[in-house]
Amino acid sequence: MTKMTKRLVVCAVAVAFVWPAIVSAHGQKESPASASAAQGTTTITYLAPGLSQPSTKREDEAIVTAFEASHPTIKVKLVGVAWNNAYTKVVNEVEAGNAQDVIYMGAREVPAFVGMRGLMDLDQFGIGQKMNQYREGVRDLTKYRGKYYAIPYSLSTKALIYRTDLIKNPPKTWNQIVSVAQEVMAKHPGVYGYAMSGAKHVSTTSQYFNFLFQAGGRVFDSNGNVAIDSPAGIKALTFYADLYRKYHLTPNPIQYNREQLPQLFKAGKIAMFVDGPWVKGALGVPPDNKQVPYAAAALPSEKAGVHSATILVADAVGLYAKTAHPKAAWTFLDWMTSFKQQTTHDAQGMVPMQIREESLPQFNNSAYFTTYVGMVKYGVPQPHATAWEPFQNIIVNAVQRAITGDATPAEALAHAAQQIRQQKLNPGA
């Protein structure tokens, strides 16, 4: 027997001895669940992305504590994951048949998880009446092929952030974006009038879609067919690219995603950009600060006399289709999206989710926040691509082609539409 073979034999014997101990320990780890079942309590798991962030952890733990206090027979175990790994984790867990009972996700991921048969159809819990508390655009965020698979939980609209010391009247139309930005640049050399996202990032899709919706276009029509290459889509992309290529109002957008724009704004390099209500936190200064005083304005409309539009983006909470505890999981989901709990959650800086919340004083005590609340009624839900990542890649490539001049907006969108159809990413596929 060679030395190597002897070592292998020793390892095999060691594993043979240790393995039962590991299995036994694993079994013991599971035993509390059995014990809790014996005591008449049910333990459910809740996938909460971003749990490593102190503020998220604090809020999620408070939710669980309050829920368990009012529902003594149900225990909730928080399962953390980094935001950028959450989608992959859910896909893998659904594929393996062991996803968490309650899943927090981006609403744009709902179609993919439904496609994987990973989310429970919530209609069985009589969700219709509950969803009447939401505006239609918000409801549609988690409604896929006629059924609700999740409940929207964290909502954002978009508004125009502008420097109040440089701009007296914020633009109300696309033409005014150009004229106001040009005026700022003429008076304040070194400051760009406007900034936008063009990097390979989800925010590039959102920022382009704002213009698309304002022009009356949609990514998919009501039958789920691709409609992005419509005249409205081309008009919107032409204007988006022209802000950089023709008017030279923005720094090269391909270098930036939305998260980087507040840094430019705070450094005094740009006068206007579009972002969600959380941007106040990202800027780290109140609107009336002395260095870069700012305000939020409604997104400009395509032309005068037409109302504006904003993309509605939300995180949502759904139930794993094969959860062993559907009733307990639904009880938790129903409780955390109740009017009282939803209001508490939204008061952390989110746009009010339910219609009744919109008139509450906490959402109307500042002009800054009221602007975002006022945009909800003009909201258009993020499109329901059957899988978001490849869809995002196609859209960003189209935007980048138009910005770099590799293709005309019409060519870029025609190519994108063709790719979406080929890859069956439209909900009607």
Partner: protein, 275 residues
């Protein structure tokens, strides 16, 4: 040893190859999982994006490895001799090697910024350029900007490995050559480089494999853009397998990458190995 090799190397390779013969999109279980033979490979062969990406990857690897060898050799020659503060310079040289590439990429993203980046600032101060360049905003410049990071990270390994090789060359060879009247260039071409060939062979092979598979220098910097200007095979594989969750096509891309690298290694080894 055979069991370990079979379990840790052969099994994953065969598993990936088997996956590449399946239609399996994790997010589309309604389409089912079924055997498609070589269909994933045929579809890739018919996809112009794949061929553009393959060509870009070969260019990326060739240029980057060449730059690393040249820069590494220069540093190795400079640091092979004993001189004051040599250890300090060696330590400084190692900094890129020990810096997490993701951190480097994020830092470089700001250095490359067309409007406020340090690179443009210094180029304009030195009157090399008159206006700002959006390095990551255009295909060609983004490609070389990403490559610069890859080279920056890879040079220390090359320099240290080559320096070890240079220090291993017997001093008597140089003394004898000098007595025969050989100048600096002659000694370099006739002694140093031929003596270094075994080291150069090993380091370039390793570097080529690492560079071909370089992901962290590209993904945080450009995400493969603008458009697809910095998309290499490994980025495309990642996007296909873990973005679109098309495990069949993603596995086909991984298998092709493996086949290219193993073919390269064998041919290179046969042609360049010291006889």
């Amino acid at each position: 040893m055979g069991i370990f090799l079979a379990g840790l190397v052969l099994y994953p390779i065969l598993k990936v190859f088997w996956e590449s013969t399946l239609h399996n999109i994790l997010t589309r279980p309604d389409e089912g999982i079924y055997f498609v033979g070589l269909d994933n490979y045929i579809k890739l062969a018919q996809d112009p994006t794949f061929w553009h990406t393959l060509g870009r990857t070969i260019a990326w690897t060739t240029i980057s490895v060449s730059a690393k060898v040249v820069a590494g050799f220069i540093f190795a020659m400079l640091l092979a001799d004993r001189f004051a503060f040599r250890r300090l310079y060696l330590t400084l040289l190692m900094i890129p090697w020990v810096t997490p590439i993701v951190v480097a990429s994020v830092t470089f993203r700001w250095i490359y910024n067309g409007d406020y980046g340090d690179l443009n600032y210094y180029l304009q101060q030195l009157h090399i350029t008159s206006s700002s360049i959006a390095w990551l905003g255009h295909g060609v410049t983004a490609f070389f900007a990403a490559m610069t990071i890859d080279v920056w990270v890879g040079v220390p390994f090359m320099a240290i490995a080559l320096m070890g090789g240079i220090q291993g060359i017997p001093e008597e060879l140089y003394e004898a050559a000098s007595m025969d009247g050989a100048g600096m260039w002659t000694r370099l071409w006739r002694i140093t480089i031929p003596q270094l060939m075994p080291v150069i062979f090993v380091t370039t092979t390793l570097s080529a494999v690492w560079t071909f598979n370089s992901f962290q220098a590209i993904w945080p910097l450009t995400g493969g853009g603008p458009v697809n200007a910095t998309q290499t095979l490994v980025v495309m594989t990642y996007q296909t397998a873990f973005g679109a969750f098309d495990m069949g096509r993603g596995s086909a891309l991984a298998t092709i990458t493996f086949a290219i690298l193993i073919t390269f290694s064998v041919i290179y080894w046969r042609r360049v190995r010291p006889r």
